[in-house]
């Protein structure tokens, strides 16, 4: 069986800079599977997500292969890619404060995603639905979705502008946008990082529940090991643009093999901190050769 997503030999560099952002990154994702991507800032987590979505900036040089249900996405035209995005493959971004259009009510932004890919009047007309029914159906579906993501008073919330909602509420709207078309893959790029800790837990539970409800696969990007272990089955560790480890969450986080992963796990163990003592840093776990050459020393 072809996997849902198959990334192989992905290399990425930006503009004139010689240091590549991704080096020979390969992984596969089956339907319904959840893969966490962890690594520090600049390790290539977000650009991996953007590469899959085909949303890299113009100055990116991408080579390798990204196959979606067997179809090659690298080099796919914008029109064909746009049909996939938001429908079969969606994304939840990190920045709830700025990721929604400030000049449009949030309900309309959710409805747009639905209308862009579904409820085309021609299709509906073929089945004998009137224009009013289509609008009603879309409306009901949007309200249903806003209720599902836990927005209080969805009818009124739909008419609000992003600045009238809190960060958590905006992220719920983003989740509604990402899930309204029942996608096969939801890429979550640090979806809870910008939120308060208490809100984080609630939004995380919501994402977990929603992904299960539509049986979507997920690429879940985070620098937070606890978050990844809560949501994901497997985890991929990126270091300086290279995959250094992949395996089941319990296995990788319980018995890390790569020195970088060991460091990552050890630095997250707050229960081992003795007050007054120096905290461990990642560099303690890397040899001097690894520090100097980055990930290349392992390659």
């Amino acid at each position: 069986m072809t996997p849902l997503l198959e990334v192989s030999g992905l290399n990425l560099a930006f503009g004139q800079r010689r240091t590549p952002a991704l080096r020979d990154v390969s992984f596969t994702l089956d339907g319904g599977q959840r893969l966490g991507i962890i690594g520090e800032s600049g390790s290539g987590k977000s650009v991996t997500a953007l590469a899959v979505m085909g949303l890299l900036p113009d100055n990116a040089f991408l080579s390798g292969s990204i196959r979606w249900r067997g179809q090659e996405l690298v080099g796919l035209g914008d029109a064909a890619y746009s049909k996939l995005r938001g429908d079969d493959m969606t994304m939840v971004f990190q920045e709830p404060m700025t990721a929604l259009d400030p000049t449009m009510p949030v309900g309309l932004q959710v409805a747009e995603v639905l209308r862009l890919h579904r409820a085309r009047s021609k299709d509906a007309a073929r089945f004998g639905a009137s224009a009013e029914q289509i609008v009603d159906n879309a409306r009901n579906r949007v309200l249903e979705m806003l209720t599902e993501v836990g927005l209080p008073d969805p009818g009124r919330a739909a008419l609000k502008y992003p600045h009238q909602l809190s960060g958590g509420q905006r992220q719920r709207v983003m989740i509604a946008m990402a899930l309204i078309n029942r996608p096969a893959l939801v890429i979550c790029d640090e979806p809870t990082t910008a939120l308060d800790v208490t809100v984080q837990a609630k939004v995380l539970r919501l994402i977990d529940y929603e992904l299960r409800a539509v049986q979507a696969a997920s690429l879940f990007i985070s620098h937070d090991l606890a978050v990844v272990s809560q949501v994901c089955d497997e985890v991929l560790v990126l270091y300086h643009g290279e995959v250094v480890e992949r395996g089941h969450v319990a296995q990788v986080l319980g018995a890390p093999e790569h020195p970088y992963t060991k460091g990552l796990v050890a630095t997250a163990r707050l229960d081992l901190v003795t007050p007054g003592e120096r905290l461990p840093v990642i560099e303690d776990f890397l040899s001097s050769a690894q520090l100097a050459g980055g990930g290349a020393a392992n390659g």
């Binding site: 949303l55 938001g86 700025t98 990721a99 929604l100 259009d101 400030p102 747009e112 836990g150 909602l165």
Partner: protein, 322 residues
């Protein structure tokens, strides 16, 4: 803040600005060297004759009194009379204001119609040759003064090719076709220069939008590039462009004077320049006051437009996290 309150505060600011401006205009105009009585009677007039005429014109009375009279007159719509011809200034200004308004609004309309698609194109292709070519051409356009553009257009299309009249003006209601024919060249001259400036701002506004997070979101939900720009970029880019547009409109009302001279159009500009040359202070005061009022109205309109475009200005309540 509600829309009503924004409007009310704007009207208040507008009224106070107008009052302050009227005082400033009055002081400056009366402080100008030169005397209308002297100009009317010529260089050989005796001081006695000049004093008599000054008394007749009311120029010997104290300045505060003259200011209050002038202000009160304007409230009733009476701008006074010309010091030379005794014609009511209101009747002098009205047809000329219409001419200048046509010239300015048609030019700005044309400039916007040109600048938005061109600026958007330049933003989308900013890294390609064609996009950069647009930027360079608009730079050149900015460097050319409007009067020079007017002269060039006039030389080519009126003198050389003879397609359009070189100058003059016909009121719209007298002969609509001739009215249009005579406005083509002056409006194009103003629009090309203003449009070139506007292209730069439109381009920058769209480049900003392309880098926004919500634009990436729009792309991620499946809008193709151009559709995303139109759907989620226009309104946000408009916020930046409206500011510049307001400034340009204000500049044009004053700057149209030069183009009116080049194309011999009887607008406010020629009235003002003639009045200044003759020291016809009542007319100068009236026209300058009108221009100030127009600029204040434009500024107020821009502020109202902001509120209409940007919902964030209407309320600032934030939700409670749940």
């Amino acid at each position: 803040m509600s829309v009503v309150r924004v409007l009310a505060s704007r009207v208040g600011v507008f009224a106070i600005s107008l009052l302050v401006a009227s005082l400033a205009v009055f002081c400056v105009v009366n402080a100008l060297p030169g005397d209308v009585a002297g100009t009317i009677l010529g260089t050989n007039a005796t001081p006695q004759a000049i004093a008599e005429l000054r008394a007749q014109l009311g120029l010997d009375r104290p300045l505060p009194l003259r200011y209050i009279e002038w202000l009160g007159g304007m409230f009733r719509g009476d701008f006074g009379v010309s010091a030379f011809t005794y014609e009511p200034i209101g009747a002098l200004i009205r047809p000329r204001l219409a001419v200048t308004c046509w010239l300015v609004f048609l030019s700005v309309g044309l400039a916007v119609t040109l600048a938005i698609p061109v600026g958007k194109y330049a933003a989308l292709r900013r890294k390609k040759f064609t996009g950069q070519l647009v930027s360079v051409v608009s730079q050149f356009g900015m460097a050319v003064p409007a009067f020079l553009m007017g002269i060039i257009l006039s030389l080519v299309f009126a003198v050389r090719l003879g397609w359009l009249p070189a100058n003059g003006y016909t009121p719209l209601l007298v002969d609509p076709l001739d009215w249009a024919r005579r406005l083509v060249l002056p409006c194009t001259a103003l629009a090309l220069v203003q449009g070139a400036v506007l292209v730069r701002y439109v381009r920058n506004a769209f480049i900003d939008v392309l880098q926004e997070d919500y634009f990436r979101t729009a792309r991620s939900v499946g809008w193709p590039l151009r559709a995303a720009v139109n759907r989620h970029g226009m309104r946000n880019a408009a916020l930046q462009v409206v500011t510049v547009l307001g400034l340009q409109l204000a500049t044009l009302f004053v700057g149209a004077i030069v183009i009116e001279k080049v194309f011999v159009i009887p607008g406010l500009g020629s009235l003002l320049i003639d009045a200044v040359a003759k020291r016809d202070l009542p007319i100068v005061q009236g026209v300058v006051m009108l221009l100030v009022a127009l600029i204040l109205i434009i500024n107020a309109a821009v502020d109202v437009l902001y509120v209409l475009i940007d919902p964030r200005l209407k309320s600032d309540t934030e939700g409670v996290d749940v």
